[in-house]
Symmetry: C2
Subunit: 114 residues, 2 copies
């Protein structure tokens, strides 16, 4: 396994306005997501622990009913099973890291180093 160029990974549309490029290891999934301004992430939850790192832009995440606006250089930790939803305030780039790996995303593709 050499280096991986994120922009060269085939992008998958998760939902309308959310385009993701995945890197999977045995234990973690890294999802680099480009989000269009104004697009909504419907409320959901999953057993996977999630850490969201804002790379560019501004996003409003609602975590367990509490709105959190975050922008480049800020991070939100979403514990296992906690409901969350979101709204892209601007176009943004987010890195979502999951443990354990998202097996549902692994089936969609991306780079698998496992």
């Amino acid at each position: 396994m050499s280096k991986i160029t994120v922009s060269a990974i085939e992008a998958k549309q998760l939902i309308d306005g959310y385009l993701a490029r995945f890197i999977h290891t045995g234990n973690m999934t890294f999802s680099f997501v480009d989000v269009e301004a104004g697009k909504v992430l419907p409320e959901h939850s999953h057993a996977n622990e999630q850490v969201s790192i804002m790379l560019e832009g501004e996003f409003e995440l609602t975590l367990d009913g509490k709105p959190i606006r975050f922008s480049a250089g800020e991070v939100v930790v979403i514990p296992s099973g906690v409901k969350h939803s979101g709204l892209a305030i601007t176009g943004c780039r987010i890195l979502d890291v999951f443990y354990p790996a998202r097996e549902d995303y692994r089936k969609l593709g991306g780079v698998d180093s496992n």
Copy 2:
């Protein structure tokens, strides 16, 4: 747990020229590292799986004897137990993600969401 501002986390010097800000969850450690140009990372290995994401600048990582130059937008996966060393070609910012969490780094401080 609300949002975390990376720049507000107290920085710890890992080795000469390597300044790190940590976020720990129960399972993962996120280490945001500022590296000075020309500074060397001596060869080492650890059981933790590591994923290195280049945020800014250029770094030469030597992974199991093989040099890999990577820059912003590129990622290297370092499997458990594989020897690696490095050299900062320019000043750079790297996000190193570890599974399981680096308990040695947790003792150094940072934000602990666990």
